[in-house]
């Protein structure tokens, strides 16, 4: 169902004049786009941290309020190691979510680059970015964002359905459902498979969202204020679950939060101040 390269333009790639070279290798990265697509280990990885699961170099992003340009990120450099549980904190409006969206290729930076395992990902064609989001990143959100029309199980199965066409999905339907059920058991929702999202509590919805993020067996989980809408107990439960996944399944987690106590549960905390990363 996801033919590569045929999708409508989801994310407008920045116009060429805004892709000015910010470090020497950038031009080469653009020249070798073709190579970058076929071979993940490309030379421009040298500019980024080759050991990082996810890294950014000089990320810039502005929003426009009418004609006024509001800069959000002003050259954010970040490196996330494998199996790391990283928390990004900062005041609201400092660009945490924007940074997370750029990491997850939901948005394109005005300047700078995002690398995943040494491979540049922010300038990939739309179809490849779709696949990347589908297979390599799991995403969870503050407001869970489960589809209200689908049951918990169907919500969890959604990424698999997106990845597979009808026939391929139906051929392996039993496997997929088995795996989704297992995941839901893992997050403690074994009794809630047939429930609609509105019949679940906030914590349960977030657990279902985590199961959905993990169904495609991604290496990286991007969490946008996962506890922001939950009470203390439910939030702690989610944090325990994330920690558990991080240690038992080698999942790299990048979590954005404004809550210092929640952030304290992570391996490392970085602070986003005025669009730049500050390591404590």
């Amino acid at each position: 169902m996801n033919e590569p390269g045929r999708g409508a333009v989801l994310v407008t790639t920045p116009p060429p004049n805004r892709l000015r070279p910010i470090w020497p290798d950038d031009r080469r990265a653009l020249d070798h786009r073709g190579a970058a697509r076929s071979d993940p280990v490309v030379a421009d990885g040298a500019a980024a941290d080759p050991h990082a699961a996810l890294s950014t170099v000089g990320l810039r992003k502005s929003y426009f309020r009418g004609a006024i340009e509001v800069p959000v990120l002003r050259g954010a450099d970040l490196s996330v190691r494998h199996h790391e549980f990283l928390a990004i904190v900062g005041q609201s409006g400092c660009g945490k979510s924007t940074l997370l969206h750029l990491l997850g290729t939901l948005d394109a930076p005005d300047a700078g680059a995002v690398f995943c395992h040494g491979r540049r990902i922010d300038n990939l064609p739309v179809a490849q970015r779709d696949t990347l989001r589908n297979k390599h990143f799991g995403m969870i959100f503050q407001f869970y964002h489960l589809l209200p029309e689908l049951t918990t199980l169907e919500n969890v199965l959604l990424p698999v359905m997106v990845a597979n066409g009808i026939w391929r999905y139906l051929r392996h339907r039993a496997e997929h459902r088995h795996r989704a059920t297992q995941l839901l058991q893992q997050v403690g929702l074994a009794q809630r498979l047939r429930h609609r999202p509105r019949e679940l509590s906030g914590g349960e919805m977030q657990r279902a969202a985590i199961a959905r993020a993990l169904i495609a067996q991604p290496k990286i989980l991007l969490a946008d204020e996962p506890t922001g809408n939950l009470d203390r107990a439910a939030g702690d439960g989610i944090m325990q679950l994330l920690r558990f996944l991080n240690t038992t399944q080698d999942l790299t987690i990048v979590m954005v939060t404004h809550d210092q106590t929640i952030a304290a549960g992570a391996d490392r905390v970085i602070r986003l101040v005025e669009g730049r990363v500050e390591e404590p």
Partner: protein, 522 residues
């Protein structure tokens, strides 16, 4: 897969969209009903016209006709014989029909057609339209003893009966003769006899021309009949508002026909004929203008024969045309099934001089009427399709609403890796689904309405007290319908494509939503 699942869930949960397709449904249903009734009408009419007219007619442009029909038929066979199934010569002449009702002579303008009673039924469905069962099987111009249909055999038992027809035939003729006798008898003297004769101006002329009776024999209306004639049923009847027919003339009555002779200058001649049957094709144009008689009667009366070749029958003293060179005005041609009539017509036209012969298919003869019905259908279809187009705009508006409502979900799907095409697919599929449901239900509703249209018309008539379908206006007792599968396919396909088109615009908008903005949307 997710597309299908979401389409299905949206279909089942968004009832507002289902409400929007009610207009699609109604549009489809209306189109089906109108098309079925129109094509039922057209079909019925075409079948009738075709049943009355032969496939093709080869006619003389002059009123005097052409000699030797056999030679012409041979020639036609030589040119297009492979396509032709049967032929029969006829004589067509405009005439005036007069008949006496309650002492008053009533005239009618008619087309007087002389037919060959053996072969005419083989080129058209003429026989089917007669009122005596025996005549339907084998046409005869002899008056029958009785047994004419009291119930219209083409419409079934539900229509009003025709009790007058029970008396028709010889009993009616004898009864009339007895009354005439009784009227004449009170004054037994010969002058009275002369008076009655002179009161019938046609009879006086008959005496002068001594109409075909053997010498020394007098015409007794209780035992003898004139040459047979078959009258169009509407010539001598009228239909009441209750749908029942009242007859002014029944089989057994005598009528007069006045028509021009074939000579130059034409002279008017009058013939007395005895009505032997009535002809009901349910095409009022024909039922109110056709009078059929044996072709020899017309040929004799109009002088359409070569006197040198005619013989006199020694028994009856009448002129015998069996071996004579006769004239006729047209040849009716029946073409084999499946043959393109226009092809045959064009072949014949190229062979016979067009100044002398007109060659037409039955469609040519009724071209304007058929074209008018076709045009009406086309205009109605355009208007009704606009209804569905309006429904399309309803879908458009509701879809935009749904896309706005689902903005966040679209962002989620994109964050899960769904492509723009995938999102487009959801909404286009949803639109298609709505179109399918709408036109499917509309199809069912339309077919149901068509199936029970007469019951519905009756119900509306009883409720409003106004007849919806007045059988005295149309010559049908029921609303004719015909469902054409191809029309159904067209209507459903049209409705579906409108639903599809209306959903594409909102779907494109959904597909182009920026995922971050969509996720941030509250």
């Amino acid at each position: 897969m997710y597309r299908l699942l979401l389409c299905w869930r949206y279909l089942r949960t968004r009832y507002i969209a289902l409400a929007s397709i009610i207009s699609v449904m109604l549009g489809v249903a209306t189109m089906i009903v109108v098309n079925s009734v129109m094509s039922g009408f057209t079909h019925e009419m075409q079948a009738r016209i075709h049943g009355i007219l032969s496939d093709m007619v080869f006619e003389s442009r002059g009123l005097a006709g052409f000699p030797n029909a056999d030679r012409h038929m041979q020639e036609i066979r030589r040119v297009a014989g492979a396509w032709i199934e049967g032929m029969t010569p006829t004589v067509h002449v405009p005439a005036m029909l007069s008949f006496q009702v309650a002492g008053q002579w009533q005239p009618r303008q008619v087309m007087f057609i002389g037919i060959d009673q053996d072969s005419y039924s083989s080129v058209s469905d003429f026989g089917q339209y007669l009122q005596h069962p025996a005549n339907r099987r084998k046409l005869s111009f002899r008056l029958r003893e009785g047994g004419y249909d009291v119930v219209d055999h083409q419409s079934g038992p539900s229509v009003p009966r025709r009790p007058q027809m029970a008396e028709a035939g010889w009993p009616w003729r004898r009864q009339k003769a007895r009354f005439a006798q009784a009227d004449a008898n009170p004054a037994p003297a010969t002058p009275a006899d002369a008076d009655t004769r002179s009161s019938d101006p046609f009879l006086a002329r008959d005496q002068a021309t001594s109409s075909g009776l053997a010498e020394g024999k007098t015409f007794d209306p209780a035992r003898d009949q004139h040459a047979g004639a078959i009258l169009g049923i509407a010539l001598a009847s009228y239909r009441g508002t209750d749908g029942a027919d009242r007859f002014l003339i029944l089989p057994g009555d005598d009528v007069r026909l006045t028509f021009p002779t074939a000579g130059t200058p034409p002279q008017a001649v009058s013939e007395a004929l005895t009505v032997v049957d009535l002809y009901e094709s349910k095409m009022s144009e024909y039922d109110a203008s056709f009078v059929f008689a044996p072709i020899e009667t017309l040929q004799l009366a109009r002088g359409m024969y070569d006197p040198r070749t005619a013989t006199i029958d020694p028994d009856t003293g009448q002129i015998d045309l069996r071996n004579a060179l006769t004239y006729c005005t047209s040849i009716q041609i029946k073409v084999k099934a499946g043959v393109d009539l226009d092809l045959v017509r064009d072949r014949l036209r190229s062979h016979f001089p067009p100044e002398l012969y007109g060659i037409y298919t039955w469609r040519d003869k009724q071209g304007p009427l058929l074209a008018a019905v076709q045009m009406e259908t086309a205009i109605l279809n355009v208007l009704l399709f606009l209804i569905i187009a309006v429904a399309g705009f309803g879908i458009l508006a509701i879809f935009f609403m749904i896309v706005v409502e689902k903005t966040r979900d679209i962002g989620v799907l994109k964050s899960l890796g769904a492509s723009g095409r995938g999102i487009l697919g959801i909404f286009v599929g949803y639109g298609l689904g709505l179109g399918l449901v709408g036109s499917g239900v509309g199809l069912g509703l339309g077919l149901l309405l068509v199936a029970y249209i007469n019951e519905i018309a009756n119900l509306v008539s009883t409720l409003t007290g106004h007849p919806l379908f007045d059988p005295s206006v149309y010559y049908f007792h029921k609303i004719p319908t015909m469902v054409r599968p191809l029309t159904l396919i067209w209507i459903v396909a049209g409705a579906m494509s409108i639903a599809l088109l209306a959903s594409i615009l909102p779907a494109r908008r959904a597909a182009r939503l920026h995922p971050v903005e969509a996720l941030r949307y509250e």
